[in-house]
Subunit: 335 residues, 2 copies
């Protein structure tokens, strides 16, 4: 079986803010043969995530223990698809799968113990497929693991999150019930039930903005922005505060300066900062899907998605992330 596969690639390493010219859509024939052990998937949705930008930079491959994106080659990404041909007993034609696929129409893989591609099981199949990439996928797992496992919230603690209207932030804020554009602020407060929200890009003094909203200080910070935001939060943090370091979007494109946190704040307030990764919590995945799936069914968790259409829209969807244009989980629907 042969299919014509279109895929998105970068033309060169990307060091600053990404632009449309950095990307190209290429095509190649994919050949699947019975007995090859391989599984061919027609991708239906692919995720577009800020961290991908770091993989596009020209740093040494060993620098961050993540797979570097090579110019001209396929770009792996979380996604969902349907098996169209399988030479592997574990998968059969028609199975719906979710996991690490790529920004392309068809992904072919070979099952192994480290394959991060699973079948969507019956229990959770009542939800739209897109949910399995966002709220019931890595974004949700990042929010859940980061909040409950890393932050270990106690009743009454004050929680602040940056990039709060993003795929992860919009969930953490709902977990905590507890904030760029006024439309986002309204969404967070009105639809998602956050206590307060503000547009950090319009605040001339972040420290003062936080002081005003957290007169009793911040206990937990879910970090997605970096730069000045981290410094301002530390200045407003309480003793024994915890910072879950999830992302630093303001630093990815080199638009803002790097955070230079005041180590004296860290020492005197006994603050803990901890980096983490959704995949650290894989053992909790089933628990997560059941818990959150239930809350979604009951209407207690709102799912916010921002879906573009077609493989050609992947570059513009990706670029929009760094302009703060997305609200909720950014996905591209392929078929």
């Amino acid at each position: 079986m042969e299919v014509e596969n279109r895929y998105v690639a970068v033309r060169h390493h990307v060091e600053g803010s990404p632009s449309e010219e950095d990307f190209e859509v290429k095509a190649a024939t994919v050949r699947w043969t019975p007995g090859s052990g391989e599984v061919l998937v027609r991708n239906l949705y692919v995720s577009v995530d800020p961290y991908q930008l770091n993989r596009m930079k020209r740093h040494s491959a060993s620098h961050h223990s993540v797979e570097v994106i090579v110019p001209g080659e396929r770009i792996s990404a979380y996604g969902a698809g349907k098996v169209v041909a399988s030479a592997c007993a574990e998968y059969k034609e028609g199975d719906v799968v979710v996991g690490v696929l790529a920004w392309e129409d068809y992904t072919m893989f070979r099952a192994s113990p480290t394959t991060l591609i699973g079948k969507v099981d019956d229990a959770s199949s009542g939800f739209p497929l897109s949910y399995h990439i966002g709220v019931l996928g890595t974004s949700g797992m990042t929010a859940y693991g980061g909040f409950y496992e890393v932050c270990k919230p106690q009743r009454g603690e004050k929680v602040f999150l940056s990039a709060a209207s993003g795929s992860v932030g919009s969930l953490v804020g709902q977990f905590a019930k507890l904030a760029g554009t006024q439309a986002k602020v309204d969404l967070l407060k009105d639809k998602l039930g956050f206590d307060d929200a503000f547009n950090y890009k319009e605040e001339p003094d972040l420290k003062a903005a936080l002081k005003k909203r957290f007169p009793d200080g911040i206990d937990i910070y879910f970090e997605n922005v970096g730069g000045e935001m981290l410094e301002a939060v530390l200045a407003n943090m309480n003793a024994y505060g915890r910072v879950a370091v999830c992302g630093a979007i303001a630093e990815y494109a080199g638009q803002g300066r790097r955070a230079a946190p005041d180590l004296l704040e860290v020492i005197y307030k006994r603050i803990t900062l901890r980096g983490f990764f959704a995949f650290d919590f894989l053992t909790k995945f089933q628990e997560y899907v059941e818990t959150i799936g239930g809350l979604i069914t009951e209407g207690k968790i709102q799912v916010v998605e921002d879906i573009s259409d077609g493989l050609d829209s992947v570059p513009s969807a990706f670029i929009a992330l760094f302009r703060g244009e997305n609200v909720g989980k950014k996905l591209v629907k392929l078929a």
Copy 2:
């Protein structure tokens, strides 16, 4: 009873590197009366610690939850002394005490549940009194709590520490058996049994210097320096690395720039940075004194002290800390 008390004060807030002109020795009469409830102590040794510089800065009192040093007034400091008069049942004349005293000849205090002044008990009184300020005092407790409680070392892990020849570092390195001047490097390797040591002020490329010495990466970093050192360590750290943030002497005097750690290193390597304070481990103090006291008696822990003589030498002793001139615990002997 009246005594003429001489004390060291700052003439004004100190923002940069300290110099002799920033200090003055003042005098005042201290009047103790029977029935006052107060205890009068003749101070014998006082500690000189880098963190004191932060207390001398003109920042708001609430900034760091530590007591601000007011120009012209007494400067609290860890020390040891002998009770010369007591109107409090818990203390009697001749008792040897250790705890938060001040850079002065006599300290008068009133016992309260929060008083951090204790009597040197019999079990540990076989050691020189100076040990109770350093290795058996806050420096030791910082090293012990920071290494065992914060870093949680596992067998085989690679440990790196900065300001390794200081009061705390010289102990952590011995705990881990595992490094400013060549003399210090020799001391660390030859006398204290460290595996390797280097003079970071002479290394043009800290990242490369660490890479060379830790080809398999660093698992634990005991941070006392800040600035570029922290950045270089993070770049050389292994996954799940831990940074115990104890101090940042390179940042105190504003000589170097602040550390701007790469948050991507923190995320992708799941690094934890945690600030702490010796007093966080007060409940472990007795356990610590017994354990370390035993190791000192057996000759398994070497105690390195750097003792100046007389109250007038407090300013020069303090300034020397920021020039990297001290080796081991810096103390001033008063009487």
